[in-house]
C-alpha cells in the first residue's frame, strides 16, 4: 500500500506543517538543552504535556475499535488522583484512611490503579452484559465519577509533600521526563497486547461485525468488558501525572474534558468511530499533533480563546482528509 493512503499520512503531514511553521517563525523552537540532568526545550515539553492524553488515547483506541466510546476517562483520572492524594496526605475524615500503606509509592500506585480497574469493570459490565449504549453507560461514570473523587477529597484540593511521588509528574529519568516514560511503558504494553497476541484481532473483529465474531467463537462480551477495563486502568495511570505534578489531588480539574481530547486523538489517527480497524500509532500521533498545535499557538502569544478555534480548524481539516469519501472526491478532482 502506498504511504499516501495510510491513515498516518495526513496527521503526519499536519504535524510536519506545524513543525515547519515553527522552524521558520519561532526562534529556538527546536532548541533542546541539558539542564540539571534533564532535557529542556519546546519539543520535549510538547511530548511531556501530551503524555496524559497519549496514555488515554491508547485505551480509547481499543474502546472505539469495538464500536464503543468511553466518556468517563477524565473522571477516572480524577478518582485515581484523589485516591493517590488521600493515601499520601491522609486528610482528616477521609474514608481511605482505613487503608494505611505507610507512604509506599508502589502500593499507592497499585491502589489507585485498582480503583480505576473497578471503574472499568463497572463500565464494561454495563456495556457488554447489560447491553447499555456505551455513550450512555460511560456518561454515568463521567458525571458520578467526578462526584466520587470530590467526596474522597471532601471538595478540597488535597495537597501533599512527598517528593518521591511528585517525581512521577515532574522528575526525570535518564534525562527524559517521567510522564514520557510512563507513556512509553504503557504504549509498549498495549502495543504488545494488540499486535503480538490475538487480542487486537478480536477487538477489530468484534468492532467490525459483532454477530459474525460471536458465531466464529469469539467471546465478544469478554472482549468488550476488557477494553473498558484496560481503558480505565490507563486513565488511572494518566490521572497520577497531573496529581503528582501539582502535588495535590484536584478532583474538580484533573482530567477535565480530556475524554474529548482522547477521542479526538483517536479520530485524527484514523480509527473509525464506527469500530473495526484501529491504529494505535495514529492515535499517539493525533495526541501529539494537538499538543504541538496548542504549544505553537501559545508560544506565538495568541490568546487562549482563539487557541480552541484554531485547534478545531486543524482537526476539521485532518478529519476531512481521513474520510474516504472526501479523499475519493479529492483524488478524482486531481485526476480530472
Amino acid at each position: 500500500m502506498k504511504f499516501r493512503q495510510s491513515n498516518l499520512f495526513w496527521p503526519l503531514m499536519a504535524l510536519l506543517g506545524i513543525l515547519l511553521f515553527n522552524l521558520i517563525l519561532t526562534p529556538g523552537f527546536f532548541h533542546v538543552e541539558m539542564r540539571d540532568g534533564r532535557l529542556f526545550g519546546s519539543l520535549i515539553d510538547i511530548v511531556n504535556r501530551a503524555a496524559p492524553v497519549m496514555i488515554l488515547s491508547l485505551g480509547m483506541t481499543l474502546v472505539i475499535a469495538t464500536g464503543g466510546v468511553d466518556l468517563s476517562v477524565g473522571a477516572v483520572m480524577a478518582i485515581a488522583g484523589a485516591v493517590a492524594g488521600c493515601l499520601i496526605a491522609r486528610p482528616e475524615g477521609c474514608i481511605l484512611n482505613a487503608l494505611n500503606v505507610h507512604g509506599s509509592i508502589p502500593a499507592i500506585i497499585a491502589v489507585a490503579l485498582f480503583v480505576a480497574l473497578i471503574c472499568g469493570i463497572f463500565n464494561g459490565f454495563l456495556v457488554s452484559f447489560l447491553e447499555i449504549q456505551p455513550i450512555v453507560a460511560t456518561l454515568l461514570l463521567m458525571v458520578a465519577g467526578r462526584g466520587v473523587a470530590q467526596l474522597l477529597t471532601d471538595g478540597q484540593i488535597v495537597t501533599f509533600n512527598d517528593p518521591k511521588f511528585a517525581a512521577l509528574g515532574s522528575g526525570s529519568t535518564f534525562a527524559i521526563p517521567n510522564p514520557i516514560w510512563l507513556f512509553v511503558i504503557a504504549a509498549i504494553l498495549i502495543g504488545l497486547l494488540a499486535r503480538k497476541s490475538a487480542y487486537g484481532l478480536f477487538v477489530e473483529a468484534v468492532g467490525n461485525n459483532p454477530v459474525a465474531s460471536r458465531y466464529s467463537g469469539i467471546n465478544a462480551k469478554n472482549v468488550k468488558l476488557t477494553v473498558y477495563v484496560i481503558c480505565a486502568v490507563l486513565a488511572g495511570l494518566a490521572g497520577l501525572i497531573p496529581t503528582a505534578d501539582i502535588k495535590g489531588a484536584d478532583a474538580n480539574n484533573v482530567g477535565l474534558y480530556l475524554e474529548l481530547d482522547a477521542i479526538l486523538a483517536v479520530a485524527i489517527g484514523g480509527t473509525s468511530l464506527a469500530g473495526g480497524r484501529f491504529s494505535i500509532a495514529g492515535s499517539i500521533l493525533g495526541a501529539i499533533l494537538m499538543q504541538s498545535l496548542t504549544t505553537t499557538i501559545l508560544t506565538r502569544g495568541v490568546s487562549a480563546e482563539i487557541t480552541l478555534i484554531l485547534k478545531a480548524a486543524v482537526v476539521v481539516i485532518v478529519a476531512l482528509f481521513q474520510a474516504p469519501e472526501f479523499r475519493a472526491r479529492f483524488a478524482r478532482r486531481r485526476a480530472a
Binding site: K196, A198, A205
Partner: protein, 498 residues
C-alpha cells in the same frame, strides 16, 4: 431489430483486477437479453458501466447509434437507461405512488399535485398489467409488487433500456410469473431489457438472446434457441458440463453412531417437533419453503436461540442451557444464511477472515504465527479456488461466491465435527455450487457431518444422505433411501401426504 444500446470493446480495471477486458454487448429494441456469467465474470461491472456507477477505462457506448457518455447514475436515467436492483431501494412507509414519482413529483405553484402523481403512478402500474391501490404504503405490498413499483418508476421516466439485476431472487414462483408477464409486455412495446439472474430456468422462460461473460471476456453471444442449456453452463464455467453432473449421494442408511439427537425439540413461535439424529458421515438436509422453520432449527442447534421444549442431546448428554459457545466447544460450525450480516468481517482481510475461527479457538495469548496463517490461507485459496487479488484484500471487495468460500474455509480450517450450512449456495454461480457440493461429499466421506439447508430442492436431494421436511414451522417427516426424491419431498412440502 434495431440496436438500442451498444457497448463496444469495454475495458475496466480495478486495483489488482482487470474486471472487463474488451467486452462488447448489444441490446436491441424489443428483446430480453440475458447477461450470464459466474460470480466475478464481470456482469456486475458491465451493468455498473451501463448505468453510470463506474466510468469506463476505454471503449465506447452508443445509444440508438449515437455515441454517448454516461457520467452518473442520474445521467444514465435521464438518457433512458434505468436499473432495478436485487434489493428494492425504495421507501417502505411512503405510498406506492409517492415511491414511483419520488424526486420528480408533479409540482405546481401550491405544492405537489397529488392527483397527477396518483394518475402517473396508476398509468405506470397499468403498463405492467397491474391494477392496485397506489395510495397504500409500499411496505404493505408483497416483495413482487414492490419490485414492480421499482420497474414502474423506471417506466415513469420513459426508459428505453431497462436493466434488471437479479430481480427474482426474493420472489416466489407465482410472483416470478407475474414479473415475467410484465417483462413480456414491456418487451412488446419495444423496450430493450437486460436481465441478470442465476436461475437458468428463468433465462429460458423469458429471454430472447444470451450474452455470456467469463473472466471479463465475451465467451458467448447467441439467440436463445441456438444455445442449449448444457452448452450455456459449460460456457459459464469454462469446463465440460457433463463431467460436473456428479452422481447423487447414496441414500442408503449410513452406518455410524449418531452424536446428536433431538426429541421434539422446539422453540415456541419459531419451530416445533424437530426429531432427528446426526452421525458422522451424514448430511442431513432440511427441506421446506422459506419460513418453514429451517433456519430456526439451525439456530437451535447452534445455540443462538435455546430450545424451550423437547430435548437436544449431544454425545448422549442432554444439552440444557445450550448456547453458541457450547456448540462451538462441541465441534459445531455455522455458515449463516445472511452472509453480510452474520458471516463476513467486512473490513478485515481474507487472511483474517479465514483464520478467525482457529484463532478464536486458540484464545488470546496463543496467536497463530504469521507464517502459519499464510500457509493455511494459501491452502484454502488454492483448494477452494478463492478468487482474490491477495490474502490481504478486505473480504468486502470479493464477489459473493468467493466470500462464501472464505467463510466455508474458516470452518474447514478448524475441522469441525458438524458443519451447519444455511443456504451456502445462495447467490453463487453454477460452477461454485458444484464445487461446494463436491467438497461436502468429500468431507462427508472423511467423517464430517453436515446439516444442509437450501431452497433449491435439486441440491438438497443431490447432496444429502437424509432429508427432514419442514412445513409451517414444524418438521413433518424424514426421508431416507429411495424415498428421498424431489417428487416425494415436494409433495410433503405441499402437504400431500405425511
Amino acid at each position: 431489430m434495431a440496436e438500442l444500446l451498444q457497448l463496444r470493446n469495454i475495458q475496466k480495471s480495478f486495483p489488482g483486477v482487470k474486471a472487463l477486458d474488451g467486452v462488447s454487448f448489444t441490446v436491441r429494441a424489443g428483446e430480453v437479453h440475458a447477461l450470464m456469467g459466474e460470480n466475478g465474470a464481470g456482469k456486475s461491472t458491465l451493468i455498473k458501466v451501463m448505468t453510470g456507477v463506474h466510468t469506463l477505462d476505454s471503449g465506447e457506448i452508443l445509444l440508438e447509434g449515437k455515441p454517448i457518455q454516461i457520467k452518473s447514475p442520474q445521467d444514465a436515467v435521464s438518457q433512458g437507461i434505468s436499473t432495478v436492483y436485487q434489493e428494492v431501494n425504495l421507501v417502505p412507509n411512503l405510498s406506492l405512488a409517492e415511491n414511483i414519482c419520488l424526486g420528480r413529483e408533479s409540482a405546481g405553484f401550491t405544492g405537489i399535485k397529488w392527483k397527477e402523481v396518483k394518475e402517473r403512478a396508476e398509468r405506470a402500474m397499468a403498463r405492467l398489467g397491474l391494477n392496485v391501490d397506489v395510495r397504500r404504503p409500499l411496505g404493505s405490498f408483497s416483495i413482487a409488487i414492490q419490485q414492480m413499483a421499482a420497474i414502474a418508476r423506471a417506466l415513469d421516466v420513459d426508459a428505453k433500456v431497462l436493466v434488471l439485476d437479479e430481480p427474482t431472487s426474493s420472489l416466489d414462483r407465482d410472483e416470478v410469473k407475474q414479473l415475467f408477464e410484465a417483462i413480456t409486455k414491456l418487451k412488446n412495446e419495444g423496450m430493450g431489457i437486460v436481465f441478470v439472474t442465476h436461475f437458468l430456468d428463468q433465462v429460458y422462460a423469458v429471454s430472447d438472446h444470451i450474452t455470456v461473460l467469463r473472466n471479463g471476456n465475451n465467451v458467448g453471444d447467441a439467440p436463445i434457441d441456438q444455445l442449449p442449456r448444457l452448452e450455456l453452463v459449460s460456457m459459464m464455467i469454462g469446463r465440460d458440463a457433463s463431467a460436473l453432473e456428479s452422481e447423487r449421494v447414496a441414500k442408503d442408511p449410513i452406518q455410524s453412531t449418531s452424536f446428536i439427537e433431538t426429541q421434539d425439540m422446539g422453540h415456541s413461535g419459531s419451530v416445533e417437533g424437530v426429531n432427528f439424529t446426526i452421525g458422522s458421515g451424514e448430511v442431513l438436509g432440511l427441506a421446506g419453503l422459506l419460513g418453514s422453520g429451517r433456519t430456526e432449527t439451525v439456530r437451535l442447534l447452534y445455540g443462538i436461540d435455546s430450545a424451550n421444549h423437547g430435548e437436544l442431546k449431544i454425545d448422549g448428554r442432554s444439552a440444557s442451557g445450550h448456547k453458541t459457545s457450547k456448540a462451538i466447544a462441541s465441534g459445531f460450525g455455522l455458515c449463516p444464511e445472511d452472509r453480510k450480516l452474520e458471516g463476513i468481517l467486512p473490513d478485515l482481510s481474507v487472511r483474517e477472515n479465514l483464520t478467525i475461527v482457529l484463532q478464536a479457538r486458540q484464545g488470546w495469548f496463543r496467536k497463530l504465527s504469521r507464517s502459519k496463517q499464510d500457509e493455511i490461507v494459501q491452502v484454502f485459496i488454492d483448494s477452494l479456488r478463492i478468487k482474490t487479488a491477495s490474502p490481504e484484500t478486505p473480504i468486502k471487495n470479493l464477489s459473493g461466491g468467493n466470500q462464501q468460500k472464505v467463510i466455508l474455509a474458516r470452518w474447514l480450517a478448524a475441522n469441525p465435527r458438524l458443519l451447519l450450512l444455511d443456504e451456502p449456495t445462495r447467490g453463487i454461480d453454477v460452477g461454485a455450487k458444484f464445487e461446494i457440493s463436491a467438497l461436502i461429499e468429500k468431507l462427508r466421506k472423511e467423517g464430517m457431518a453436515f446439516v444442509f439447508v437450501s431452497s433449491e430442492l435439486e441440491e438438497v436431494v443431490r447432496s444429502c444422505t437424509k432429508i427432514a421436511v419442514m412445513r409451517d414451522r414444524k418438521m413433518v417427516g424424514m426421508l431416507t433411501g429411495e424415498e428421498a426424491s424431489e417428487e416425494k419431498v415436494m409433495s410433503m412440502i405441499a402437504g400431500g401426504e405425511a
